[in-house]
Every structure is written in structure tokens, then in C-alpha cells.
């Protein structure tokens, strides 16, 4: 549990700009001068109005997209291409429907040439960890949305990632499932020791999960402020400080959403 405090951040976002230049359309400045670090094993939540570039940032950290300016450094190495050490989980589980759950979890392992018997062992272990030990040979469409998302976690965890990124992973789930999934995620996070970067629209989710919340401005996204959540887990929802955080985030977001609207109308 006592991790040495490493001077080297797990992810370091250094003055990152991103300008999308879609073919035949006007370029979009998604992110401008973004700067913050994620410590090893830290749980960071990204909060901001939609369209401010949160997904874009995750894609760039994953190495699926390049930066337009600045750099992203993970464990001391600049990100140039995707790596299984930086797992990414989407709003839809995106499991392959032609593979069983166990084979989905083992997909990355099989790409890396791990032998079938060992793959299966790891898949079983991972699925047990996410509470799907009896779903090995089911097909993805036989699982509920929450189970599929847990299977997607198992697929990412099977690669022993140092950073796990999640783009609104629970947005499509109902409220009850959602809060169960948050508990589940905290447990996964403690077990794996990975840093987590999670995007959400939900202020409650941010307070429930984060060590620190990075609040984005409206597009072009910049860091508006970074708020450490100084409450014990599970977060005491009756605590007055919980409500102070809540009010603060509501205000911060409302200001940015207003600004985004004003800009849209001006344009």
C-alpha cells in the first residue's frame, strides 16, 4: 500500500494544444496549453462542458491521436504510439461480438503471443476480479450493460496497464448500476495500483471517485482549476464539505456552459 512517492509522474501533460483539421471543414481548436500531471496510482477525474476536448485528451494520451503542440510524457517517455500499458475504456464496452467474454478479455494477450492455456488462466483470473467468473463462455450480447463494461475493464486490466483511461464509462448505465460500478471501480483501482483518468459529466461521480478533479474550460479546453477532494472514501454524502464541493463544481461548470452558449450565439 505504501508506494514510494515517485518524482516521476505517471502521465505528464505539457503545454498540449490540439487543433482538429477535418477534411473540407474549418479547423477546430479543441485544446489549448493544457498542463497537468497525474501521479502514479492517482485517481484523476476530468470534468468539463461537452465538446471541451476531454475525449480528445484521452485519445492523445492513449497515442491514438497526435498532439498539435506541446507533449505528453508517460513514465518519462514521450507518447508516440498506442500501448497496452495505457488502457482506454469507452462509453460502450466495444467488446467484439464474435468472441466469448473470455476470448475478449484474452484478445490483447493473444496479440502478444501468449499461449492459449495461459491466456485462459489470465482471463479467468481477470474476470473473477471483476465479478464475472461465471460468464467466461457467454457472448457479449448475453450480458447486461454493466457486466459488459466490467468485461471491458477486465480486457484492459489483463494487459497490466499503468494508466487506465475511461471516457464516460458509466454514462449509458442506469443510476443503481452506476453507483455499484463506482464501488467496483474503486476496488479495481486499489487492486491494480494503476493511475486512473476518468471523464464524466456527473459531479457526484467526480466527488465519489477522484483524488483530484481537473475542471476544463469551454472549448478550446484549458485547465480551469484542479480541485483535490479531501474526503475519506467512501465519500460521506451527508458531510457538509461534500455539499461544498458539489456547489463549487456546479458553479464552475455553469460558468463554462454559459460561456460556451454565449460563444455559440456570437458565432
Amino acid at each position: 500500500m505504501n508506494r514510494p512517492i515517485s518524482a516521476r509522474p505517471s502521465v505528464s501533460i505539457k503545454a498540449v494544444d490540439k487543433i482538429w483539421t477535418p477534411e473540407g471543414r474549418t479547423p477546430v481548436e479543441a485544446l489549448r496549453g493544457l498542463e497537468f500531471d497525474v501521479a502514479p496510482g492517482e485517481f484523476v477525474v476530468l470534468l468539463g462542458p461537452s465538446g471541451c476536448g476531454k475525449s480528445t485528451l484521452l485519445y492523445m494520451i492513449a497515442g491514438l491521436e497526435g498532439v498539435s503542440g506541446g507533449s505528453i510524457v508517460c513514465d518519462g517517455l514521450p507518447v508516440t504510439e498506442p500501448s497496452a500499458e495505457r488502457g482506454l475504456i469507452f462509453q460502450e464496452a466495444s467488446l467484439f461480438p464474435w468472441l466469448t467474454i473470455a476470448d475478449n478479455v484474452a484478445f490483447g494477450l493473444s496479440i502478444q503471443g501468449v499461449l492459449p492455456v495461459r491466456r485462459r488462466e489470465i482471463a479467468i483470473e481477470m474476470l473473477k476480479r471483476v465479478g464475472l467468473g461465471d460468464m467466461l463462455d457467454k457472448k457479449p450480447d448475453e450480458l447486461s450493460g454493466g457486466m459488459r463494461q466490467r468485461a471491458a475493464c477486465a480486457r484492459a486490466l489483463a494487459m497490466k496497464p499503468k494508466v487506465l483511461m475511461m471516457d464516460e464509462p458509466f454514462a449509458a448505465l442506469d443510476v443503481q448500476t452506476r453507483s455499484r460500478m463506482q464501488d467496483f471501480l474503486l476496488q479495481i483501482w486499489r487492486d491494480s495500483g494503476a493511475s486512473i483518468l476518468l471523464v464524466t459529466h456527473s459531479i457526484d461521480e467526480a466527488i465519489a471517485l477522484a483524488d483530484r478533479v481537473v475542471v476544463f474550460t469551454a472549448r478550446p479546453g484549458r485547465v480551469k482549476t484542479i480541485v483535490p477532494i479531501d474526503l475519506p472514501r467512501p465519500r460521506p454524502t451527508r458531510d457538509p464539505r461534500y455539499h461544498e464541493y458539489r456547489d463549487m463544481f456546479t458553479e464552475l461548470l455553469a460558468a463554462e456552459v454559459d460561456r460556451a452558449f454565449a460563444e455559440q450565439e456570437a458565432a
Binding site: A62, G63, L64, P82, S83, A84, R86, G87, L88, F90, E92, S94, F96, P97, W98, F107, G108, I111, Q112, K139, D141, R155, M159
Partner: protein, 306 residues
């Protein structure tokens, strides 16, 4: 006597499927089994009604039995009718043996041509479609020709098929191939382009090479809808194979049609039509079962079993 003894087994597929239909009764609460029984029931009613009207028209002497012999007539003399079928697949070979095995051989050759043509069309169509999608030079060189040839009816290819491949199985298989090939080529690119981006992202993050991504992600993602294209063209495939057999092959069910027409044998015409109908139905069922077993991840709306 023998005739009626013969006509009992000919009715037995119905009896058999009804008997088979009883099996799910044990798990009768299953709504799927119930639904299947109901549709089987109405299917039988529908065919029965059609036959009854036909029989009635014959009975009241509206339908001339020489031209439009009703079912009981063309199903009656089955051994006699089967004399016209031949066991061999030799071109121009006139009926030697007849009998049920000859019928099966004749139907078998036709089915063989249909399925071989479809399989070749699927495999080569996907390959060419993928090359067009991925290789720019190839796209520039080939796409125009594909777009030009695609709308040509496969029947129009018949003379070409015979000029190039002569008489035999190959021209028939070629025509079936043409029926699906261009449709598959053209849809492959669109299907590849519509593979969910997140599938490709997962593959990249896991470190898959482009080749691995194609074989293990893109191909399984597009196969179900390509297979649907094959299924939709099954009817067309049956059509051209009969035309080809009539003209350029000299064996198979199409050749029987041709002979029956030439010899003015209405019973044989309708018997042969019944066989063709049953086989067409069976081959659609076979493709559906194949899809269910091997491409089980097809979206339910796309004609899968569920």
C-alpha cells in the same frame, strides 16, 4: 397399388415434420417453439389451400390436365417421372437409370453449382473489395470497370461464359459467381468503412499489426453483412443456374425443365418445379443455419435466428 404405396412416403416429409414438430411439445412453454409450430401450421394450410384450389379448377374442368395437371396427377406417377432423371452428370447424356438416386444426383449437381458459385463469389468478392478499399492504385484501376460491369444482368454473361468455359459445370458456376461477386465487391468497402472506430482503437491499443487487425477484427466485423448479401442473392443464383443448365450445361434441374418443355411433358414440368421450389426453400434454410452456427454474432435485425 405401388403408386399409392409410393405416394405415402412422398407425403411423409409433411408427416415427418409434423412429428418433429411434436418434439418441442415437451418444452411447450418455450414461445419460440410455439411460434415455429404456428408458422409451420399456417404454412401447411397455405400450401394445402393452393393445391385445393388447383384441384378444384381441374375438377370443374377449368384447368386442362394436359397443360396444368393438378398436384395429385404430377405427384402420382413418381417412378414414371423419375425415369427422366439421370444419374450421371454427362453433357447431352440421355436418361439411363432414373429413380430416386438419379433425382438426387440431378438436384445435387444443381445445388453444387449454386453453392460453389456463391462461395467463390463471397471469397473473391471480399478479397477484391478489400484490395479496392486499401490499395489506392488498385482502386483507381479497378473501380470504374467494376461499376460498369456490376449492373449487367448475370444472364447476359451466359454467352461469354460458354465462349470462355465451354459446356459443363464451369459456365453455370461462373454465372452464379457473377450474381454475387459485384455486389460483394461493392459492399465490402462500405462495410470496412463502417466498422466501429472503437474496435479499431482496441486493436491498436492491444498492439495488433494491420494484418492482425484485418483478419481478427475487420473481417469478422464485416462477414455477417456480406453473408447477408449472399443470402439476398440466393434467388438470383437459382435463377441463373437453371438458365445456364437449360442452355449451356446439359445436366441438372434446368436441363430437365428444358427437356420437359421440348417433349411437352406437363407432369414433369410441375414435378420439377415442385422440386426446385423445395430445394430453393431448403437452400435458404441451409444458409440461415450456416449463418446461425458460424456467424452467430449477427445483429438480430439482420436475419439471424433471434
Amino acid at each position: 397399388m405401388t403408386m399409392s404405396a409410393q405416394s405415402v412416403p412422398s407425403g411423409s416429409p409433411l408427416g415427418g415434420s409434423l412429428g418433429g414438430g411434436k418434439l418441442p411439445v415437451r418444452s411447450f412453454p418455450s414461445p419460440a417453439a410455439k411460434r415455429r409450430l404456428t408458422s409451420l401450421f399456417w404454412g401447411l394450410v397455405s400450401v394445402g389451400l393452393f393445391a385445393a384450389i388447383w384441384e378444384l379448377l381441374w375438377y370443374v374442368e377449368v384447368a386442362n390436365p394436359l397443360l396444368l395437371p393438378p398436384p395429385h396427377m404430377f405427384l402420382q406417377d413418381i417412378p414414371g417421372t423419375l425415369k427422366f432423371f439421370d444419374r450421371s452428370n454427362k453433357v447431352g447424356h440421355m436418361a439411363t437409370g432414373g429413380g430416386a438416386t438419379a433425382l438426387m444426383a440431378t438436384a445435387g449437381w444443381t445445388m453444387f453449382r449454386v453453392f460453389t458459385g456463391l462461395a467463390l463469389g463471397l471469397v473473391l468478392g471480399t478479397a477484391v473489395g478489400a484490395l479496392i478499399h486499401y490499395i489506392k492504385t488498385f482502386r483507381n484501376l479497378a473501380l470504374g470497370t467494376v461499376l460498369l460491369l456490376a449492373p449487367i444482368s448475370p444472364v447476359a454473361w451466359l454467352p461469354v461464359a460458354i465462349f470462355v468455359f465451354g459446356i459443363g459445370d464451369v459456365p453455370a458456376i461462373f454465372l452464379v459467381f457473377i450474381t454475387v461477386f459485384f455486389a460483394i465487391v461493392l459492399s465490402t468497402g462500405a462495410q470496412i468503412a463502417s466498422v466501429p472506430k472503437n474496435y479499431l482503437h482496441v486493436a491498436r491499443i492491444m498492439g495488433a499489426t494491420e494484418r492482425q487487425t484485418f483478419w481478427r477484427v475487420i473481417l469478422p466485423a464485416i462477414l455477417p453483412s456480406l453473408f447477408m448479401t449472399v443470402r439476398l442473392n440466393l434467388l438470383g443464383a437459382w435463377m441463373v443456374v437453371l438458365v445456364a443448365e437449360t442452355v449451356g450445361v446439359g445436366s441438372g434441374l434446368g436441363q430437365i425443365t428444358n427437356m420437359a418443355r421440348a417433349t411437352f411433358n406437363a407432369k414433369l414440368v410441375f414435378f420439377n418445379m415442385a422440386i426446385i421450389g423445395a430445394l430453393g426453400f431448403l437452400s435458404d434454410w441451409a444458409l440461415r443455419e450456416f449463418q446461425r452456427k458460424t456467424l452467430w454474432w449477427v445483429a438480430p435485425g439482420e436475419g439471424a435466428s433471434r
